[in-house]
């Protein structure tokens, strides 16, 4: 993504998001940097509590301002978002950037028709009349593949099935042709056959409109399907990034490797136990010192001087590829190759 000299479409630099809670400060995001170009899909992978959703709520300015301390920089098309006022953000949200949530039923209003909800955004940003908005809503529903859109536009969300609701959400998010679409686990609640339909739809729409997509998921299989670039998050930090092929084929970080080898596949060996990552994800109230993955990492003893527990490993990204680990790269490659060999 560093291929062109022009400024990236979305640029997040050293983002820090801290919440103050009764129990202390939660460091939900702790120094995150990434760029995204138009027409590209960035997949963000991580477990619950890794900070992936918080990052994206912050980009949209949907966090609770009274309780949140934010540092860093978010540039959308050259415009700084963190210092933008609520009014300015309102003009951007739904227009230039929009979001799809995981639970479509909870994110749609049960009291308004699907058509009214899609049209609302359109009217707000274009000043269109009710009639135009309705026509636009029908057009959007047709585009996301809802049968009989001119009839279904007057339905309420409960009359839609799960997959159709997610399609309606996508129609709503895309109604103003946004340049940035953030999809937060949009297919997690769906069945695999419907998930495949939604992923195809997003890919088609991206090709048509050149939208930049941030796709958040915990499922590496979905990443393999949709993403161009991948960013792996753990404990509020990025531990590895690169293109999809690089990250999935030759992971550099022990956490990514652990995730990949802990997942059963449809054609892997079945009579050997899976190799899980020991332990549990960290609490962000009292995150581990040094590398946040070190209490669960199997390679900690290979690093001299107990560096893993004391010093934060730096993420060095060259040409969009990098990982944050103290273990020297050559040593890691050897160790990882051994591990992969022992499983197959």
């Amino acid at each position: 993504m560093t291929s062109t000299d022009q400024q990236p479409f979305l640029s997040v630099k050293d983002l820090q998001v801290h919440f103050s809670t009764e129990d202390g400060i939660v460091k939900a995001v702790d120094g995150l940097t990434f760029d995204l170009a138009k027409g590209q899909t960035l997949g963000i992978v991580g477990e619950s509590g890794s900070g992936k959703s918080v990052t994206n709520l912050t980009i949209l300015g949907l966090h609770d301002r009274r309780r949140t301390t934010i540092d860093g920089e978010i540039l959308l098309d050259g415009k700084e978002l963190l210092s933008a006022t609520e009014k300015e953000l309102e003009l951007l949200r739904g227009n230039k950037m929009s979001m799809i949530f995981q639970d479509a039923l909870a994110s749609l209003s049960p009291f308004h028709t699907i058509g009214a909800q899609i049209g609302e955004t359109y009217r707000k940003h274009t000043g269109a009349s009710k009639k135009e908005a309705r026509a636009r809503a029908i057009e959007m529903l047709r585009r996301v593949g809802i049968p009989q859109p001119d009839v279904r536009v007057d339905d309420y969300p409960h009359q839609f099935s799960g997959g159709m609701r997610q399609r309606a959400m996508i129609a709503m998010a895309l109604v103003c042709d946004p340049e940035l679409l953030i999809a937060d686990e949009p297919t997690t609640a769906l069945d695999v056959t419907v998930q495949a339909q939604i992923l195809d739809l997003l890919k088609d729409l991206q090709q048509e409109f050149g939208t930049a997509i941030i796709f958040i998921t915990h499922d590496l299989g979905v990443i393999a399907d949709i993403a161009d670039d991948v960013l792996v998050m753990y404990g509020g930090r990025c531990v590895e990034r690169g293109t999809k092929e690089e990250v999935l084929r030759t992971p550099q970080h022990p956490y990514t490797l652990g995730l990949l080898s802990s997942m059963p596949s449809l054609d892997g060996p079945v009579d050997v136990p899976l190799s899980p990552i020991p332990g549990a994800p960290p609490s962000l109230l009292t995150p581990p010192s040094g590398c946040r993955f070190h209490p669960r990492c199997t390679f900690t003893d290979k690093v001299a001087g107990g560096l893993c527990a004391t010093e934060r490993p730096l993420l060095e990204v060259v040409d969009g590829r990098g990982s944050a680990c103290h273990l020297p790269m050559e040593q890691r490659q050897d160790l990882f190759a051994d591990l992969a060999g022992s499983r197959h």
Binding site: T193, H218, E245, P273, P276, R343
Partner: protein, 348 residues
């Protein structure tokens, strides 16, 4: 199934949930046909996987087997004994041999009870006093499931999701069951934790010789865990076979489509796998399609499919024990040769 008598024998199992409506007198105006005529067996110590999309009746099946729901018709036999409509008293000894593990580790443990109390609960109810006392047994169980026996006096909220699921497993093991029904036991857990719990269940299944009915929507997890797999669609089993036959040679179009829709975490599977994209959603079980229930989404459907429900039989070309309910089963080898022999650096 080599045993003469299977541990669990289900035949024609049906559950219709009545829909009440009308005013002022409520009448039954329809039925959700959640499960409709299931036949399957589970052998001693065998793990049977049940897969399917949401609403296909897999959880209802689990609840029927454990008799948490009353079947509408059909029979359930446990060790040759018909327990379909057995009363409370009659059921009591059977209940201690059939246990359940639930999906949500947060909702299935009483927050006011200590771990010790939760796990010894089944023993108390059944008046079982193991040698050395219940507490000793609970500590043993905690150790088996990989928790610290010192956690005896802690409360569920002090544990993470994966640890809670281990507590649920320990509770299920407390009565030394012969059959465990596990309803989506790992789907609420983080990816890195899922493998821990799958390994634990597999260890339990193999070392203690417990039979499992493993209900899940994740085909890869089911493949890893089960020796035999049944695929359900809209209340019916459409295909049942040994693991290798089902995943290697799926004969039902739905099985094939389901397998092809699973995204896999390898970046290079595009040319190797043919994707079948099903259109539309699963129809409503209130008013399921006539004949074959999959026909509304099937690319092969003909008039015969609409008029005649295909029986679950060993279609031509199937190995014994591989049953498919389809008029036009898939013929060619549908899944490419296993991609086992790949370069060692591909860890996926």
């Amino acid at each position: 199934m080599s045993n003469a008598q299977p541990l669990l024998d289900v035949s024609g199992l049906t559950k219709h949930f009545p829909i009440k409506g009308g005013f002022p007198i409520k009448r039954t105006i329809g039925a959700v046909q959640a499960v409709d005529g299931l036949d399957f067996q589970v052998g001693e110590g065998e793990a049977l996987g049940l897969v399917g999309e949401s609403g296909c009746g897999k959880s209802t099946t689990g609840r029927l087997i454990t008799r948490l729901l009353e079947p509408t018709s059909g029979t359930i036999s446990y060790r040759g004994k018909d327990i379909t409509h057995a009363g409370r008293k009659e059921l009591a000894p059977v209940r201690s041999e059939i246990q359940m593990i639930f999906q949500d580790p947060y909702a299935s443990l009483n927050p006011r009870q200590t771990v010790g109390k939760i796990i010894s609960g089944p023993m108390e109810i059944n008046g079982i006093n193991p040698e050395g006392g219940r507490e000793k047994r609970v500590r043993e169980l905690l150790e088996i499931v990989g928790l610290n026996p010192e956690h005896y006096n802690r409360f569920p909220h002090e544990f993470s999701g994966g640890q809670r699921q281990r507590i649920g497993v320990a509770r299920a093991l407390a009565l030394e069951p012969k059959l465990i029904v596990a309803d989506e036991p790992v789907s609420a857990l983080d990816v890195s934790i899922q493998a821990q719990v799958v390994n634990l269940l597999q260890k339990v299944q193999r070392e203690l010789g417990i039979a499992f009915v493993f209900i899940a929507h994740d085909l890869a997890v089911v493949r890893h865990f089960s020796q035999r797999v049944a695929v359900m669609y809209l209340g019916k089993i459409v295909e049942i076979a040994d693991r290798d036959d089902l995943y290697g040679n799926p004969r039902h179009p739905y099985t094939r489509a389901l397998l092809s829709a699973v995204p896999e975490a390898s970046a290079d599977d595009k040319p190797a796998r043919e994707r079948i994209r099903l259109t539309g959603d699963v129809p409503s079980p209130i008013n399921p399609p006539s004949g074959c229930r999959f026909r509304t989404r099937c690319w092969k459907a003909t008039e015969k499919c609409a008029s005649e429900a295909p029986p679950l039989v060993q279609v031509e070309g199937n190995k014994p024990g591989h049953l498919t309910a389809c008029h036009y089963p898939e013929t060619e080898a549908t899944v490419p040769a296993p991609r086992l022999a790949k370069d060692p650096e591909a860890a996926a």
